[in-house]
């Protein structure tokens, strides 16, 4: 492989990891809250990103990503925990049946207009992950003096993963809404935990794979909480009926 090819493949693979995280957030939030404002938020994130790249250029490599990861991670963690808990309660109360259909609307009754939550979540996911991709691309490209192949690698990863996300959209929309809220909640919580602590310079034992382990951990705990909630609900029902 030539040097340019090596840089392309390296930038592609490294960017693909970040792009997967970005697309999971956009598809998950879109399926749960509706795609209109989620995609607007994602578009806003891309616009901000484009401006930052245009202004920063190669100097992007000097951006301290740690504080940004901490801020975005902490916000995702706190919001993700809300959906995580609500998902547990809803799945415990209603199970998985009969919840296909409209997106879960968390806004107060009668509220209309922009869904800021969906837009904000997508904006943050796209701008942070996009910035990480830009930094990867610039760092690899500038170090190897192959900025062109590096940029192409990053763009190719982003386009491919976004296309896969779009193709998977109908599949995600078939997931019952209560369960989807729990799933997105636990994914946001896992990403938030990972990014916030990474922003604090923690060394994850398995590196990026710890995102998967965190998601499994939160999923297992959710399963336990759903069982406990169902039992508690059953006890109340028995007392009320007697």
């Amino acid at each position: 492989m030539t040097g340019a090819n090596v840089v392309f493949v390296t930038a592609f693979l490294a960017s693909a990891v970040e792009a997967i995280e970005m697309v999971i957030i956009v598809v998950g939030v879109g399926a749960t809250r509706g795609y209109r404002y989620t995609l607007l938020g994602a578009l806003g994130g891309l616009v901000v990103l484009a401006v930052v790249i245009a202004v920063g250029g190669v100097a992007l490599a000097a951006i301290p990503i740690g504080p940004l990861r901490l801020a975005v991670g902490a916000l995702l963690l706190l919001f993700g925990l809300q959906w995580y808990r609500k998902g547990v309660v809803r799945v415990a109360a209603n199970g998985l049946a009969g919840f296909k259909g409209e997106a879960v609307d968390e806004r107060p009754a009668g509220a209309t207009g922009i869904d800021w939550t969906a837009a904000f979540l997508a904006f943050k996911g796209v701008s942070l992950e996009g910035l990480e991709i830009a930094i990867i691309v610039v760092t690899f490209g500038a170090t190897a003096r192959q900025l062109g192949p590096s940029i192409l690698g990053g763009i190719a990863a982003l386009v491919l993963i976004a296309a896969i996300g779009a193709a998977l959209r109908p599949l995600v929309e078939r997931i019952p809404r209560s369960f989807l809220q729990l799933l997105v909640g636990l994914l946001l919580t896992a990403f938030g935990t990972f990014w916030a602590l990474e922003g604090l310079n923690v060394e994850w034992p398995q590196s990026d794979f710890d995102i998967v382990l965190l998601a499994i951990y939160y999923a297992l705990v959710a399963g336990i909480y759903i069982t406990l909630e169902r039992r508690a609900r059953q006890r109340v029902l028995e007392v009320v009926r007697s």
Binding site: A74, R85, T117, L197, Y217, V236
Partner: protein, 87 residues
Amino acid sequence: MKIVLRVIVGIAKFLYGYVVGDDLLLAVVMVVGLAASGMLIAGGINAWWLVPVLAVVMTGVNLVRHRPRTRDVASPVEAVGTSAEQA
């Protein structure tokens, strides 16, 4: 001036709902947990475990606090619906 104030109040309300939601205790404990993790990491302890543990403990505390109680519900239908509605 009035419009600016309304926008600021609107943003503040949105951020409060987004970050804190309906459980101030959970949000405060998680922020304190992150701060404690930061201090432990700065002190040389790789405290990646603290926040995940706090997250599930505080979720459990929240679930117990919002669980429907027999004295609060009058009918089986209400018993089933109560905490799902709270969610």
